[in-house]
């Protein structure tokens, strides 16, 4: 067992040494892997940032409640009180028909025409902002159902379009990033596989002699699998470096944007588990690529 481990360590060190001896080829491969991995990682961060934004949509979605036209001011005040005390309502505002008309007049500019109206046709209305924890559309629908039971309400209008659209975009982006990641993984396997193929043919002589003195396929294969693994890990680290560089470049504009949304931070930060997953995926992709390449090319090399 100890010998087995020390053999593996030996292969690991000799592989690292060989990579160091051909720095340009290694750097090129690692950079390509890093850049290719950066794309899905960037998309992931963007989606995560967007989700955080959407989850904490600070009272943006509004619920507009229109009372029946014949509701008196005192009745309206009662209903308003009931709604205001609902546990998931953060803010509620009562708009009287007079206020509504004034607002309409100001917005529409139909000042003159409105003078011909005998009485105010607008009903009482209440504008509700749910608290941050109940800002998702499913919560809003639930709230709508609860409020609609209150006597005297004519209609309830949810202002869901914006959040719905935003969440739909996020969902599409998540799908897109999944497809993109899969395609890039295939591309990476091709790239790494090709690099490994070159390595195999460069070491043809050594492979022939190793097979000649009784080296098994798995012995001959081992260093190339490590090569693939290391390329993948280094590539993943490069992509993380590139990501933090990109985040640094975006810091200024993102800070301005964050200020607009009263948020301290907009950009999602990768956790340690996510970083580990990225590095492990790199290692796995590299290993698979090497495995594939070795399966295709090592058999061709036999002692002559």
């Amino acid at each position: 067992m100890l010998t087995y481990l020390s053999r593996h360590l030996q292969v690991i060190f000799s592989t690292l040494g060989a990579m160091q001896r051909t720095p340009m080829a290694s750097i090129n491969t690692v950079l390509i892997i890093g850049i290719a991995l950066l794309l899905p990682v960037c998309l992931y961060v963007t989606i995560k940032s967007g989700q955080a934004l959407s989850d904490n949509w600070q009272g943006r979605p509004q619920i507009s409640i229109f009372l029946r036209a014949d509701t008196s001011a005192s009745e309206a005040a009662l209903i308003f009180n009931e709604i205001r005390l609902h546990p998931s309502v953060q803010l509620a505002e009562l708009v009287t028909p007079q206020q509504a008309l004034a607002e309409f007049r100001a917005l529409s500019g139909l000042d003159y025409e409105l003078k011909f109206l005998d009485d105010n046709p607008l009903p009482h209305s209440i504008v509700v902002m749910p608290d941050a924890g109940h800002a998702r559309s499913e919560h809003l629908l639930e709230l709508q159902a609860q409020l609609s039971k209150i006597e005297g309400i004519e209609t309830i209008r949810l202002d869901l379009e914006w959040t719905d659209r935003f969440n739909a975009i996020l969902k599409a982006a998540a799908k897109l990033s999944l497809v993109l990641s899969a395609l890039l993984a295939v591309a990476l396997i091709l790239i790494i596989g090709n690099t490994i193929k070159l390595l195999i043919f460069n070491r043809r002589h050594e492979i022939e002699i190793t097979k000649l003195v009784g080296g098994t396929d798995s012995f001959v294969r081992r260093p190339f699998l490590y090569y693939g693994c290391f390329y993948g890990i280094l590539g993943a680290l490069v992509s993380l470096l590139l990501l933090s560089g990109t985040a640094h470049l975006l810091q200024q504009p993102m800070a301005e944007l964050a200020a607009l949304y009263q948020r301290s931070q907009l950009l999602y930060r990768l956790g340690i588990e996510e970083i580990a997953i990225i590095v492990l995926s790199g290692a796995f992709i590299g290993w698979s690529a090497a495995r594939w390449s070795v399966a295709r090319h090592l058999r061709q090399i036999q002692p002559r």
Binding site: L2, T3, Y4, S6, R7, H205, E206, E208, I209, T210, K211, L212, V213, G214, G215, T216, D217, F219, Q302, P303, R304
Partner: protein, 222 residues
Amino acid sequence: MIKLSQVSKQYPNGHLALNKVSFDIPSGEMAFVLGHSGAGKSTLFKLITRMEKPTAGQIIVHDQNLSRMRSSKVPYLRREIGVIFQDHKLLLDRTVFDNVALPLIVIGMPNDEIRKRVRAALGKVGLSGYEKNLPLTLSGGEQQRVGIARAVINRPSILLADEPTGNLDDELSDEIIDIFADFNQVGVTVLIATHDLRQVNRLGSRTIRLEKGEIVQTEATE
């Protein structure tokens, strides 16, 4: 130990390298394969180490039928056979030590055991102290002896040598062949391909003479 019955080898290009060759070399024997270049000597060795498969006939090495051997078993066959090549087949970017140690590294032997064995093997071929040299800093005869040390390091039961004295002068040739004779003395089956009749006469071993892929004469001297 090495038994061929009616073995033929025809290459895809139509060249018939061996034609119905049969012989049996018992364990512990030393024999020479004689013949001009192109007579089929190298093909014979490639068949015995299963670098090639015969087109007809049976080869039994170490009680194993090579025609029926699965390719996953081939490495284990090769560990039983030490092969010495005319062109040495050394790894030129590795030290003498690493070259000789290779057959032990592939079987996963512990490092200190490898060091002991390499030192002993290099001592036996007269190359003590050359561990750290690169093969190209050595003379042809010395490189040949590195190849021998590598072939015997794993204590194989069979030694195959293809023109081991090809480019060497008489004195060096004698030294090399004597090394093989020493291994034969301790029970190793030795098969040497050569066109150096001087060595055959000197040792008086059995000879197998090949001409255009056919055995024209086998004789057991003594």
